[in-house]
């Protein structure tokens, strides 16, 4: 496949007669939000086998359906809810879906996952994906079940938090309906607005703004009474029992007992906790925000996603009423990254982001950048200071309403830095426009590479190279060959997990992941798929994402880290210096390109494209 020829991606397969393997519905529903007209795009078996579902299938769909160079907020830009072969099976953590579009934040391919009954109901409408194109004339909801699609006006829902809109719409439609909705931030086209269902967000990259631009407040789906056939139901049941028992073991204990917030104090100890816009990697007040301490005081409940036996969700009380789901990423981004140490302020900020429908990582990253700008006198906002919880809440409110400074910050740190200037781009904490998650690249140098080269931008879910950094396999302060291999291996594993889809919190429950995933997929689909085939699938998906980005204007300069990380060393507690020089990063990227079959400019060479069916 040439970078300029997306329609060639699998076009030959499309001409084949459709065969529907177990676990699939065999097609995608493509809806025009302007008219309600819809069509079914057949998904031939070879396409499904090559791209699986979730993020992989979504990548194929975006190549085919997104016009080259399309403005992500234009009516022509497609947004897809994509399910997977495992959705609806009894396999633990499989009730997940991917939401995918060209990101208004990065201008590149963006996918975000969420877990809920929306996945099961969406797939049981009879489709492997639901794609929305066009834009409604007025605020609307899309209502989809096995009987078809209709567009209903939703003026009374416009302006509501997603959770409230979801509740009201369910009252209107009935309890069998599952609803994914946007909050006020999506309506106002904040470039890092989320789409959420049941309080869980498809969070990164501004997918809520894409739906908001289509004036679609929500998408409601209802399951038919049918089931998706499985090739070997007994084998699926046996695998589900085995996986369930493993999900109770030590491999998932951390998530079950304290949730991902358990990372915070450990990261602080390891100098990997980004603090005050990445000017430090440890935070003196970290214990105040740590799960080890907060859980005893604040934990209201533990909960699970649909079809999940891990139970990672930890719901904390918010001062003044209400509650909020707490994760490491929202506490890191709204706490240490902004220098805020009062847990009341951090939890309130997190709850406010949920109400508005804002990605907490990009919100915290952009505000932290603005705090540094304010302290340097680059923006006129003397009220905005590191450590000031009230200022944090004010900034979040202004972003959600696009008022005052919020109108600038609603476009993310990259665009804001371009407008503010004054050297602020050097410390704008993003890659490809996506704000960094809570993993300090200087002290996690495998992760540094993963952050730099990943298609989505600075991301910890599509590149989990931190796994190697947090092991004894390599020296996390001395990036080199081992770090490159770790970054590739974790990116490949993520590509398959995000396409099957299985929760990454299960990752340590798999001793031989590709082989074990092949067993699951065989039982569901009947395919004679092997570990080797899935390893090729992973590479295909990774390269297909890169090809999409190339088509949309990616250049090698986009695979890079902000200047701050390359010029300002950190000292870890042992006294060692953590420095990531441009030369070291360039060398790791060069080796990554070589190992991935890319040329010096990061463009795929013909050989891997031929091998993986992308030519």
């Amino acid at each position: 496949m040439s970078p300029a020829g997306p329609d060639t991606l699998g076009s030959a397969a499309l001409r084949e007669a459709p065969l529907i393997p177990g676990g699939y519905q065999g097609g995608a529903l493509v809806v025009d939000a302007a008219t309600g007209a819809c069509e079914r795009l057949g998904l031939p078996e070879q396409v499904l086998r090559d791209y699986l579902g979730g993020v992989g299938l979504a990548t194929w769909l975006m190549h085919r359906l997104a016009p080259p160079g399309v403005d992500p907020l234009a009516p022509a830009a497609p947004l897809a809810f994509v399910f997977s072969p495992l959705v609806g099976t009894p396999l633990t953590t499989s009730a997940k879906f991917a939401v995918v579009a060209k990101s208004p934040l990065t201008g590149m391919l963006n996918d975000a996952l969420a877990s809920s009954h929306f996945a099961i109901a969406g797939k049981l409408t009879g489709h492997d994906a639901i794609v929305v194109r066009g834009a409604a004339a007025e605020p609307s909801v899309l209502v989809i079940d096995a009987g078809g699609v209709r567009i209903e006006p939703a003026g009374e829902l416009w302006g509501l938090p997603a959770a409230e809109a979801e509740a009201r719409l369910r009252e209107r439609l009935g309890p069998a309906w599952r609803i994914a909705a946007i909050g006020p931030a999506g309506e106002r086209l904040v470039r890092y607005a989320t789409i959420s269902h049941d309080g869980r967000h498809a969070g990164r990259g501004g997918l809520g703004a894409v739906l908001g631009a289509k004036r679609v407040k929500a998408v409601a789906v209802r399951a038919s009474s049918g089931r998706v056939p499985l090739a070997d139901p007994a084998a699926v049941q046996a695998a589900a029992r085995d996986l369930r028992s493993r999900s109770f073991g030590p491999a998932t204990a951390k998530y079950r007992e304290l949730g991902t917030l358990a990372n915070l104090l450990a990261f602080n100890e390891l100098s990997t906790l980004p603090t005050r816009n990445f000017t430090a990697a440890s935070f003196a007040a970290a214990p105040q925000l740590a799960a080890e301490n907060l859980a005893e005081l604040r934990l209201r409940a533990r909960s699970s996603c649909a079809s999940c036996t891990i139970g990672c969700e930890h719901i904390y009380d918010v001062k003044g009423g209400g509650s909020v789901r707490v994760e490491y990423e929202n506490v890191f981004a709204l706490g240490p990254l902004c220098g805020v140490s009062d847990p009341d302020d951090v939890l309130a900020a997190s709850a406010r982001c949920d109400e508005l429908g804002l990605d907490t990582i990009s919100t915290g990253g952009t505000i932290a950048w603005a705090m540094e700008c304010a302290e340097r006198g680059l923006v006129d906002a003397p009220w905005l200071r590191f450590g000031d919880g009230e200022a944090l809440l004010r900034a979040i409110g202004e972003i959600g309403s696009r008022t005052g400074l919020g109108d600038l910050l609603a476009d993310g740190s990259r665009r804001a830095a371009e407008r503010v200037g004054g050297g602020s781009a050097a410390f704008a904490p993003h890659v490809k426009g996506l704000e960094l998650p809570g993993y300090e690249p200087r002290t996690l140098q495998a992760m540094a590479l993963g952050l730099a080269v990943n298609a989505r931008g600075a991301d910890h879910n599509r590149s989990g190279a931190y796994e190697a950094d947090f092991s004894d396999e390599l020296d996390r302060l001395a990036g080199g060959e081992a770090h490159v291999h770790a970054a590739i291996a974790t990116e490949d594993r993520a590509a398959v997990m995000d396409s099957l889809i299985l929760c990454k919190f299960l990752r340590r429950a798999f001793a031989e992941p590709f082989a074990e995933w092949a067993v699951l997929l065989r039982a569901v689909t009947g395919w004679d798929v092997t570990a080797a085939e899935l390893e090729r699938t992973a590479r295909r998906i990774v390269l297909a994402k890169r090809l999409f980005n190339l088509r949309e204007g990616w250049t090698r300069a986009d695979d890079w880290l902000p200047q701050r990380f390359l010029e300002e060393p950190l000292e870890v507690a042992s006294g060692r210096t953590a420095a990531l020089s441009p030369e070291r990063l360039r060398a790791m990227i060069g080796r990554y390109y070589e190992a991935r079959g890319l040329d010096d400019d990061g463009v795929p060479r013909p050989e891997p494209l031929q091998e993986l069916g992308l030519a």
């Binding site: 951390k254 004894d472 996390r476």
Partner: protein
């Protein structure tokens, strides 16, 4: 001593395992052990290299030549240690290594009234000069120091390093064991006092989450916390590298963080 010094035991480790482990914690480059030709060594950590003296019984310069030769092209300088210093501290190694700058070829501690050539840093490029001295049977380190630029580090200079001053104020790092009585005295000292802290879900186990204990190895420290290092539990010493090798030596003042192995996510 009645047995090879390398194999002598100190609080659960051989001296060789301990000294190589401490040096490895303090430097970024490879760790090389120089032995007499064919000498049997106790077990070493993965990655530690072993080279042979070209000739046996010719003193420290002969070993220095072999060690520097092994490092050529891979390191600019080498911290050189004898194997019989159970109290050597990473902060001492770092301080002496850091004292070698572009102006000198050797950083030589002068501690307890003596020069300490086997607790010093040497520029790898000195190897031809060392070979020349060996060829001339000038086998004492003092002959080398006459021919190159030496920075002598007295106790005050060493203790100006705040981390070293805190970790080893008496500069016990250079105390070696030459006689059985020395070994007995070293063994009479307690294992290093270290702080052990459990993080995350490990904190919910019985017992205090943070305790000061005496432990000479990572495994011993984990045991005091009721944990075993392995697939699900790892450790970080002083917030640095992640480890799960129970033989990894600890030094006074270390902080051992015990963590779930699945940090991140």
């Amino acid at each position: 001593m009645g047995s090879p010094k390398a194999a002598l035991e100190w609080h659960g480790s051989t001296l060789l395992r301990r000294v190589t482990g401490i040096v490895d914690r303090a430097v970024d480059g490879p760790v090389v052990v120089v032995r007499a030709p064919g000498q049997e060594l106790p077990p070493l950590a993965a990655g530690v290299e072993v080279v042979d003296d070209a000739r046996e019984g010719r003193g420290p310069l002969q070993g220095l030549a072999a060690g520097l030769a092994a490092l050529e092209g891979r390191a600019g300088a080498a911290y050189v240690s004898s194997t019989d210093v159970p109290l050597v501290h990473p902060a001492f190694v770092r301080a002496v290594a850091a004292a070698l700058d572009g102006d000198v070829d050797v950083a030589l501690p002068m501690v307890h009234g003596y020069p300490q050539p086997l607790a010093a840093t040497y520029r790898v490029a000195l190897r031809p000069l060392v070979d020349e001295l060996l060829a001339a049977d000038r086998l004492r380190p003092a002959f080398l120091f006459e021919r190159c630029r030496v920075r002598r580090l007295d106790e005050a200079a060493l203790l100006a390093d705040r981390r070293l001053a805190a970790a080893d104020p008496e500069l016990l790092s250079v105390i070696n064991v030459n006689e059985p009585a020395d070994l007995e005295a070293a063994r009479a000292r307690p294992a290093p006092a270290v702080t052990v802290v459990r993080f995350g879900a490990l904190r919910r186990l019985p017992g205090p989450a943070r305790a000061t204990v005496q432990a000479a190895t990572l495994g011993a420290a984990a045991t005091t916390a009721g944990l075993e290092l392995g697939e699900h539990v790892v450790a970080a010493i002083n917030g640095d590298r992640i480890a799960r090798d129970p033989e990894l030596p600890l030094a006074a003042g270390d902080k051992v963080a015990l963590l779930a192995a699945d940090a991140g996510g």
